[in-house]
Subunit: 233 residues, 2 copies
DNA sequence: CCGATGAGAATGAACGTTCGCACTCTTTAT
DNA sequence: ATAAAGAGTGCGAACGTTCATTCTCATCGG
């Protein structure tokens, strides 16, 4: 059951630096497998998709596929990890915006948009369900969650210190709650039921403003939904 | 593949009204099976739990179990339907409260509480994931979702008419968005990571208030987080 | 005695994974 | 330059297991 963890290919430095074929080909094959696996998992779920299905989708025999991934589980983990990396990118947008309200609003909406366009929303649900019982998957998810919590928490902490916002709750509690709500927003795939992402902007902003209670000069923000805070907790 | 849909037991009227043993015994067996199935699905997921596991959990042989449920799929559907019924109960609380803000706030929190206490949160994730690919499951979920949307939508509509609230968005858009956020809140199982349900109260209220923008006399509400609306969309 | 119920072995399919073999490059030896 | 060796890669049959479901037979209440 214990394979060496050579899922990822060796670094190119292991070969002549100008030799393209071997290393690049291997990377391309890995990509093909992951893409096929993603499609199958999307259609049938982690447990429902068979290795046969995945082989077919990747245009490859089982023998060949197993040269790249030692088990079905390793495939699932690779897919999850890739998904979490995509999340991290979005995160950057959120915390680097000049206004924390704008950053979080557009960050959440981009996340939803990306998930919808890439058709990954169902996979998200799958990952969550799998994490509920598979400890290895749980770890991947928790690590990612932890990292996100810290980065957002730090950004909010700065905003609090500079007097930009005055949250309804201590940050340790507020951040997970906002993330949970955001998680619901992006997994529900609202565009599918006729609610375009852009429509959600005022609602998302209202939620964030409601929870962060920015001082007036920060709260004006964009299109609609003006709210001003009146009291400190 | 096409069995008669006699998943649920025949109504008691089909037997002598004073005959307890047959009908009651059958109902008890069904309950035992469903409880065992629930535990197994919780632990291993719909696809991961085997009929053998479920038989063992229900203290029953496969031959016996199949006298009550014609397939594994019918078991899954029964579990989902039971779950959706539990949701409907919570819904009553929400719309019958004198203040729509209070009703929705406490309704959401009760839902989260119940899901956490009954340990059903992981099943929720499982149901969602399954619905993403199984059309029959999708139907069950959509029907429930549709019903909830209507009831909440109607309650909000009344509140708008009476001038109690002035939502940031048209209701057809707002309701699904709020439900999505609520869904995220209850499935994330925040108590598990150290955030007790009651802590979430101000945050949930802030979200709801932010989105519904009640007039001042309704907005005062409980503990914290006072927000007042200033403009119409 | 009959229909409902239960146990548990049996069945056939599907699954994840492995194996043996063939083929193709790349490197090394001649 | 050519041959031999070796590693990487691919195929698809085969293996052992597990699974959902069915079958057969026994039991029991009415």
């Amino acid at each position: 059951m214990e394979y060496g963890s050579d899922i990822a290919v060796e670094t190119p430095q292991g070969l002549r630096p100008d030799a393209p074929s071997r290393y690049e080909r291997r990377e391309a094959q890995v990509a093909r497998i992951l893409e096929g696996a993603r499609l199958c998992f999307l259609k049938s779920g982690f447990q429902g998709a068979s290795m046969g299905d995945i082989c077919a989708a990747a245009g490859m025999s089982p023998g060949a596929l197993y040269r790249y991934f030692p088990s079905k589980e390793s495939l699932i983990e690779a897919i999850c990890a890739a998904d979490k990396e995509a999340d991290a990118k979005i995160l950057g947008q959120m915390v680097n915006a000049p206004s924390i309200i704008d950053g979080m609003t557009t960050g959440l909406l981009s996340h939803a948009q990306q998930l919808h366009e890439s058709g990954m929303a169902p996979l998200f649900a799958e990952i969550y369900a799998e994490a509920m019982r598979n400890p290895a998957m749980k770890q991947i998810l928790d690590d990612s969650m932890c990292e996100v919590t810290e980065v957002i928490g730090a950004a909010l902490h700065n905003a609090v210190k500079s007097g930009e916002i005055n949250p309804v709750l201590p940050l340790e509690q507020l951040v997970p709650i906002m993330m949970a709500m955001g998680h619901g927003l992006v997994t529900e795939d609202l565009p599918r039921i006729g609610i375009p992402i852009q429509t959600m902007e005022p609602a998302v902003r209202a939620m964030i403003v409601g929870m962060l209670r920015p001082r007036e000069k920060y709260a004006e923000a964009s299109p609609s939904s003006q709210v001003q805070k009146t009291l400190v907790t």
